[in-house]
Symmetry: C2
Subunit: 305 residues, 2 copies
Amino acid sequence: MKISSVVVKAPSSTANLGPGFDVFGLAIDAFYDEIKICRKNDSGVKMINVNKVLINKRNTATITIRCMKKEFGINDGVSIYLKKGVPIGFGMGSSAASAAAAAIGFNKLFKLNLDSNSLIKFAGLGEKASSGTIHYDNVAASILGGFVIVKNNPLNVFTVTPPQNLRLCLAIPEIKIADQKTKLARNVMPSKIKLKDSIYNLSNATQMVYGFMNNNIKTIGESMNDRIIEESRKKLIPGFLKVKTSAIKAGAFGASISGAGPTIIAVADKSSELKKICYAMKKSFNEENVKCNTIICKPSKGALK
Amino acid sequence: MKISSVVVKAPSSTANLGPGFDVFGLAIDAFYDEIKICRKNDSGVKMINVNKVLINKRNTATITIRCMKKEFGINDGVSIYLKKGVPIGFGMGSSAASAAAAAIGFNKLFKLNLDSNSLIKFAGLGEKASSGTIHYDNVAASILGGFVIVKNNPLNVFTVTPPQNLRLCLAIPEIKIADQKTKLARNVMPSKIKLKDSIYNLSNATQMVYGFMNNNIKTIGESMNDRIIEESRKKLIPGFLKVKTSAIKAGAFGASISGAGPTIIAVADKSSELKKICYAMKKSFNEENVKCNTIICKPSKGALK
């Protein structure tokens, strides 16, 4: 029997976590995109922007579904009702969440029985339209949930269930977001880096995996050290270093830019003074004349779960 | 009561394991250095080369002990009886094993009660004399055993017990070893690398940690991919790519240069055709007119255990 419609909720996510550029992703329960996909009579793909959030015409959900339609020769059209929950352009995997929900929803609606790697690949094609390059960190986290380690060519994703007491403090600055911000944030990065900086990041990233797998939040936070990305991207975020330092001073185990930014994410424990950490980050942004919202959140299950 | 002498055995080790340059080490039971340290009446440090293996005058064990004597203001002299078991200059942590055994032995003899990080630091000072730069991957593995992840500044080492069925096939080519080979192997490396190669190595290294912590030998082997070190060092090992490829073709899950080389190490399972892998590696070296010994070994406990 044909299914006439499906509803999928996909979580926000944070990528990189400091040293793990293009490799690490973590699904977080701060925000969710919800997508309802319904069959319709013609063969088109129609996007209905339920809550009238400003979204690009070539939305990642639409692109993902067009790719899947083409790949599997599906002529049936669909209407996509997108309830956008993840703020766009703040480095919390907004485009990934839409793409993830779309891939999973379309797979269900047409009973394609795709494995998770295939879903991640199609969602990645949607993501590509947003960032200019394929990267699977956010979509993998949004689809699978928890902490993910991504390897490309061939795509392979390993997932780790994060410590139950892990908490994240997000400082979301009200900075005017440039068009194609992710592309811009990628363009500021060098194509060559120092070998010793690469070793520094690798040792921190490998210890972060150790921390996640040993349920050691302190180790996770203390591994959020990066000498490659922050250096290039901090200029796009007024007060970055100040905000990061203040979070750690207030009790966070570590802090870094969430994905392409400008959100800053701090790692803490359930028993940490989470409000104090948020306040410290907000205050530091305010001192740079930047308004800022803060959120305390925790890891999320994925849209597939 | 004064202890008059101690005996310590430290295992050989393999560093890098492909992507983890200067970060990963694995103690292996292929060879051991054994050191006996005895108090003597004057304040000097005397090295007795028990099995007359050719060693440098400024041996890592001697240097390590001189550093410890100085640091702790110990005037008592010692005789070091070194039974050298780890072949020198083949990339199996020979200088590290001597340094590791010396640091642990001296610590016991003079009841210094040093923690493992301090022992690793002193052994690292001995290592420095051999390679020109401080790196703790081999000494940490030789001291602590198993798989180690090393972070510098401040030094912090995380250890993982490797899968019980992990087996390593070593192909040890009879290549004339240059003086200060490790220094040379470091000098051929670039000071700058491509960002995308760094991401490639980092994703493989993080998945290797996942493999070790999940007891997944296949994942460990399949993560032995490196785009930074092999590229520079393979020219120092005739037939490297051929040997690596033949190991994998014969059933190994992955292979790479052991430390600074020229030994090549392949990762396999207890149930793999280990002799076949060894034979394939040996044959490939022979085809390049290089004689080669092979050894099947497994992870080792550390000298501290």
